[in-house]
C-alpha cells in the first residue's frame, strides 16, 4: 500500500470515529425525550422583526387605494394621522383600533441577539488583545531588564496574575476598581482580560527574547547600538518568530476567556446564549450554535496567524 493511501485511510478512520461519536450523541439525545427545534434558532441569529407602526390614538383606519398609505381619524375629536413607508398593513380598511395597537409593520433585517453577542465578544477580545500585547511586551521586557527593580515588579505582576483565577480578577476589577474609577462594565471587562492575558504574553515574550543567542546582543553592542536599539532592531525581530505561535494560542485563549465577562452586565456571546435559552427552552441547539460561533472566531484567528508565521519563517 502506498504511504499516501494509508495516510488517507487513517484520516478516514478518524472521520468514521467522529461520525460514530456524533450519532451516538444523537441517539442518546433521542432517549431523553428532547424535542429538537432547530427551526427556532435562525431568528436569534438574524432577526427579520422590524419596527411596528402603532396607532397613536383610538380611531378608525383607512387604507389608500394603492395600499401604500394609511390614514387614521380619531374616535373622539378631530385628530387625523397619515402613515407611509411601511412594508405590510396589519389593520383592515375601516377597522376600529385603539392606542398602541399595531396597524402596520416595517420589515427590516437586523442582527439577532446571538450575532449582537458575537459582535460584543469580538470587540472586547480585540480591544483586550491590543492592550494585552502592549502591556505584555512591557512586562516581558521588564522580566529580562538589567534593572533589579523592573525585574522584581514584572515577576511580582506575573506571579500574582497567574496565581489567581480570572473570574476572581474580573470580580475585583468590576466591583472594586470599577467602582472606584467608575468604569463601565465594558471597560472593566477589557481591563480584566487585558491584565490577565498580559501576564501570559509577558512570559511568552521573555522566553522568546531569552531564546535569541547571547552573541546577537554582543554583536549589536559591539557595533555601538544602544540597549534600546539592540532590542528594537536585533533581538525583538528575531524573537518575534518564536513568539508568534504561542502568542496565537494565547489570543485564542483570550477569546474563550472573554466568555467569563458574561458575569458582569455584559451581553457577550455567552450571555446572549443564556438569554436565548431562557426564551426558547432549546438549550442543546443554542449552546451548539454558540460553540460553533466561538469556533468560527478562533478558527479565523489561527488561520491568520499561520499566514503570518509563514511570512516570518522565510529566513533561517
Amino acid at each position: 500500500m502506498s504511504p499516501s493511501l494509508s495516510r488517507w485511510l487513517w484520516h478516514a478512520v478518524a472521520a468514521a470515529l467522529l461520525v460514530t461519536i456524533g450519532s451516538g450523541l444523537y441517539l442518546a439525545s433521542k432517549r431523553i425525550d428532547y424535542t429538537w427545534r432547530w427551526e427556532r434558532i435562525p431568528q436569534y441569529l438574524i432577526s427579520t422583526e422590524g419596527d411596528d407602526q402603532k396607532a397613536p390614538f383610538d380611531g378608525f383606519v383607512a387604507v389608500s387605494e394603492d395600499g401604500r398609505a394609511l390614514s387614521m381619524t380619531a374616535l373622539r375629536g378631530a385628530e387625523t394621522a397619515e402613515f407611509t413607508g411601511f412594508s405590510r398593513i396589519v389593520a383592515g380598511n375601516g377597522d376600529l383600533v385603539f392606542e398602541g395597537d399595531v396597524i402596520a409593520k416595517t420589515d427590516a433585517i437586523s442582527a439577532g441577539p446571538l450575532l449582537v453577542g458575537l459582535w460584543l465578544t469580538l470587540k472586547i477580545s480585540a480591544l483586550s488583545l491590543v492592550f494585552a500585547l502592549l502591556l505584555g511586551l512591557i512586562v516581558g521586557l521588564g522580566r529580562v531588564s538589567k534593572n533589579p527593580a523592573a525585574r522584581d515588579l514584572a515577576a511580582f505582576y506575573v506571579e500574582v496574575i497567574r496565581g489567581t483565577p480570572l473570574l476572581v480578577q474580573i470580580f475585583i476589577v468590576y466591583f472594586f476598581i470599577g467602582t472606584v474609577l467608575q468604569l463601565s462594565a465594558f471597560a472593566a471587562g477589557v481591563v480584566a482580560l487585558a491584565v490577565f492575558t498580559a501576564a501570559y504574553v509577558a512570559e511568552i515574550v521573555r522566553a522568546g527574547i531569552e531564546a535569541v543567542p547571547k552573541g546577537q546582543t554582543e554583536a549589536a553592542q559591539s557595533v555601538g547600538l544602544s540597549g534600546f536599539q539592540t532590542m528594537r532592531y536585533v533581538i525583538l525581530p528575531q524573537a518575534t518568530r518564536r513568539i508568534l505561535p504561542p502568542l496565537a494560542g494565547q489570543s485564542i485563549n483570550l477569546i474563550k476567556d472573554s466568555s467569563l465577562v458574561s458575569v458582569m452586565a455584559l451581553t457577550d456571546l455567552t450571555k446572549a446564549g443564556r438569554e436565548v435559552v431562557s426564551s426558547t427552552f432549546s438549550p442543546f441547539e443554542v449552546w451548539f450554535v454558540v460553540a460553533l460561533m466561538y469556533l468560527l472566531l478562533t478558527g479565523v484567528l489561527s488561520v491568520a496567524v499561520r499566514r503570518l508565521e509563514r511570512r516570518y519563517a522565510v529566513q533561517g
Partner: protein
C-alpha cells in the same frame, strides 16, 4: 615610522573575577599602539577571550586600569557606546544578524549610531563588501552564505563603523579548513592597510607572517610577549615551549 605611534590600548594590571568566583584574568598588562597587529595565543581557558572582551567593555574588569582610545574603562562613568564605535569586534561564531540581509547587516549601525543617511551607509557598505570580495552577495541572508563568507561579512560589518582597532576572537576556529584561508587573506590585507588589530587565534602561520608582536597567555596571565621570529624561533618561557610543541 618617524614619530612614535599613539597608544590605542593601555591595560595595566587588569583583573577579571567572574561572578562565580573564577579568576579569568590576573594582573595582565598590555599596550597596543596604532597600526600594530598583536596576536594572542595560549591554551584553552587561559583568558584570551576575557582579555579581548575587556577592551570593548563586553567584560567589565574588577581590578586595574584600562584606557582604550582615550576612554577610561575602569571608571563607572565610562561611555561604552562611544567606545564601541571605535572598537570593532569579530566573533568566532560570526554573530551576523540573521534577519537582515548582508547589506542591512553592514548598514544598521552606521545609520542608527553614526546617523549616516541610508545612501551614505549603502555606499560605504558596498565599498567594504567589494573589499572582502562579496559585493555580489549583498542581497543574501547570512544563512545563505558559507561560514567563510559569513565571517568576511562580519569583518566588513566591523569596518563599516570605521573603528580605530578591531578585535578578533578566534575568527577562523568555527570554519571548515578550506575556508580558513579566505578569511585570513582578508585579515592580512587589513594589516597591510595599517589597521590596528588584536587577534586571538590558533593559526600560528598567520601570527608568524602578520603579527608585530605575539603574546602568550596561560592561567589568566600574560606570560611573555615578543616579535614573531623570537617568539617562535627562540621561545624563552618553559610553558610557551611546551605549548608550541603541542600546536606546531
Amino acid at each position: 615610522m618617524d614619530q612614535p605611534a599613539a597608544v590605542l590600548i593601555e591595560a595595566r594590571d587588569i583583573e577579571k573575577r567572574y561572578p562565580n568566583g573564577v579568576l579569568g584574568l590576573k594582573r595582565a598588562s598590555l599596550s597596543v599602539k596604532a597600526g600594530e597587529v598583536v596576536v594572542i595565543v595560549g591554551p584553552s581557558g587561559s583568558g584570551k577571550s576575557t582579555l579581548l572582551r575587556t577592551f570593548n567593555g563586553l567584560e567589565a574588569i574588577t581590578g586595574g586600569e584600562i584606557v582604550v582610545d582615550g576612554h577610561v574603562l575602569h571608571q563607572r562613568s565610562a561611555d561604552l557606546r562611544a567606545l564601541r564605535q571605535r572598537v570593532g569586534m569579530v566573533f568566532q561564531q560570526f554573530n551576523l544578524f540573521p534577519h537582515l540581509t548582508v547589506l542591512e547587516n553592514l548598514c544598521l549601525a552606521p545609520v542608527k549610531v553614526l546617523k549616516l543617511s541610508a545612501a551614505q551607509a549603502d555606499e560605504r557598505a558596498r565599498v567594504l563588501l567589494a573589499k572582502v570580495g562579496l559585493l555580489n552577495k549583498w542581497d543574501c541572508y547570512p544563512a545563505q552564505l558559507s561560514g567563510g563568507q559569513q565571517q568576511r561579512v562580519a569583518i566588513a560589518r566591523a569596518l563599516a563603523m570605521q573603528p580605530a582597532v578591531i578585535l578578533f576572537d578566534e575568527p577562523t576556529s568555527a570554519l571548515d579548513p578550506e575556508m580558513v584561508g579566505e578569511v585570513l587573506e582578508v585579515m592580512k590585507q587589513l594589516a597591510v592597510d595599517g589597521m590596528t588589530m588584536c587577534v586571538v587565534t590558533h593559526e600560528m602561520g598567520f601570527a608568524r607572517a602578520v603579527a608585530d608582536r605575539v603574546i602568550f597567555m596561560d592561567g589568566g596571565e600574560i606570560l611573555c610577549e615578543d616579535v614573531p621570529e623570537a617568539f617562535f624561533g627562540a621561545p624563552r618561557h618553559e610553558r610557551l615551549q611546551s605549548f608550541l610543541r603541542q600546536v606546531l
